[in-house]
C-alpha cells in the first residue's frame, strides 16, 4: 500500500474524496488497478490517464450520492428528516408567492398577499420558524453524536451526510431572512439596517406611513 501511495501521491490523496468506508474497502485495490493499467504495455499512459480523469469525478459523485442515500435511509435520525420536511413547508410560501407574482405580472404585489401583516408572516415568521426548528434538531443531533461517538466536534460538524437536511433548511431560512432584511424595498416593513443607517428619517417616515 505504501509503495502505491508513494507512486501515486496525488491520486491517493484524491481518493479522500470518496466516502470513508468505500475508501477503506476499495482504495488500495483502486491504486493497484491504476498501477496495473499504467504497467500494461498494450495501453498508452496518456489514454489511461484520460480514462481515469473521466471516470474519477463521476464515480466520486456517484458513491457520495449512494452513501448519502444509504445514510438517510439507515442512520439519519427521524427528527432531522421530519423537521426538514416541516421547514420545507414553512419556506414554501416564500418561493410560491415570489414565483407566482412573477408569472402573474405583479398581480399579487397589489393584492392582500403584499399587505404588511401578511408579508410579515411569510417573509419573516415562517422562515424564522423553519430556521428555529432545524437549528434545534441539528444541535440535538450534534449533542447525541457527541454522546454516541468519541469523535471531536470538528469531525461531527463535518459529518454532514447524516444532518444535511437540517443544515440545508437553516441555510435556506437564513438566506431568505438575509434577502428580506437587506432588500431595499422592504425597509419600512422590516427595518433595513443599511437603509436606516444611510437615511433614518426617510425610514422612519416610511414606517409611519405604513
Amino acid at each position: 500500500m505504501k509503495d502505491l501511495i508513494k507512486r501515486f501521491p496525488r491520486y491517493s490523496k484524491l481518493l479522500y474524496l470518496y466516502p470513508v468506508s468505500y475508501r477503506e474497502q476499495y482504495g488500495e485495490q483502486m491504486l493497484q488497478t491504476l498501477a496495473d493499467m499504467l504497467d500494461d504495455p498494450q495501453q498508452s499512459r496518456a489514454s489511461t490517464w484520460v480514462r481515469i480523469s473521466l471516470d474519477f469525478p463521476l464515480s466520486v459523485v456517484k458513491q457520495q450520492v449512494t452513501y448519502t442515500g444509504e445514510a438517510m435511509a439507515t442512520t439519519m435520525p427521524s427528527y432531522i428528516k421530519r423537521n426538514a420536511v416541516l421547514g420545507a413547508w414553512l419556506v414554501a410560501p416564500f418561493f410560491l408567492f415570489i414565483i407566482l407574482n412573477g408569472i402573474l405580472g405583479d398581480r399579487l404585489y397589489h393584492s392582500w398577499f403584499w399587505h404588511t401583516r401578511v408579508l410579515f408572516i411569510w417573509l419573516i415568521v415562517l422562515p424564522s420558524l423553519a430556521v428555529l426548528f432545524n437549528l434545534v434538531s441539528w444541535l440535538r443531533w450534534v449533542q447525541s453524536r457527541r454522546r454516541e461517538t468519541k469523535k471531536g466536534t470538528v469531525a461531527i460538524l463535518a459529518d454532514v451526510r447524516r444532518s444535511w437536511p437540517a443544515l440545508a433548511m437553516v441555510v435556506m431560512g437564513v438566506g431568505i431572512l438575509g434577502i428580506v432584511f437587506f432588500h431595499d424595498s422592504v425597509h419600512c416593513i422590516t427595518g433595513n439596517p443599511i437603509r436606516e443607517l444611510h437615511n433614518p428619517s426617510q425610514t422612519w417616515h416610511c414606517v409611519q406611513q405604513r
Binding site: Y26, Q29, M30, T33, I52, D55, F56, S59
Partner: protein, 83 residues
C-alpha cells in the same frame, strides 16, 4: 477491464472508480463474493455466488427469449443473435 473493453468492442471502457462501484453493488446484492488467494496478497479475486449464478441464468434466459421472439417476428435474421 481489458476483457470488458475487448468483449464490448471497445464501447465500454471502465476505470477503477466505475469498476469498484460495480463490485461494491454486486457484493451488496450478494451476487459475488471475495475469494481468498494467498499467492498474491496485492490482488483481490471475486467469484459468482449461487444467487449470482441464478441471476445470471435468468438474465441469459430473458435475453435468449428476446432474441428468439425477434427471430420469430423476423426482426432479425436467422444468422444474427444466435444464443
Amino acid at each position: 477491464m481489458q476483457q470488458i473493453a475487448h468483449d464490448s468492442g471497445g464501447r465500454i471502457n471502465l476505470g477503477p472508480g466505475a469498476l469498484y462501484g460495480t463490485i461494491k453493488q454486486l457484493r451488496q446484492d450478494n451476487l459475488i463474493e471475495e475469494v481468498p488467494f494467498p499467492d498474491d496478497p496485492r490482488r483481490r479475486y471475486y467469484r459468482l455466488t449461487k444467487q449470482g449464478w441464478d441471476t445470471l441464468g435468468s438474465e441469459l434466459e430473458y435475453y435468449s427469449q428476446t432474441v428468439r421472439l425477434a427471430r420469430e417476428r423476423r426482426i432479425i435474421g436467422e444468422s444474427m443473435g444466435a444464443v
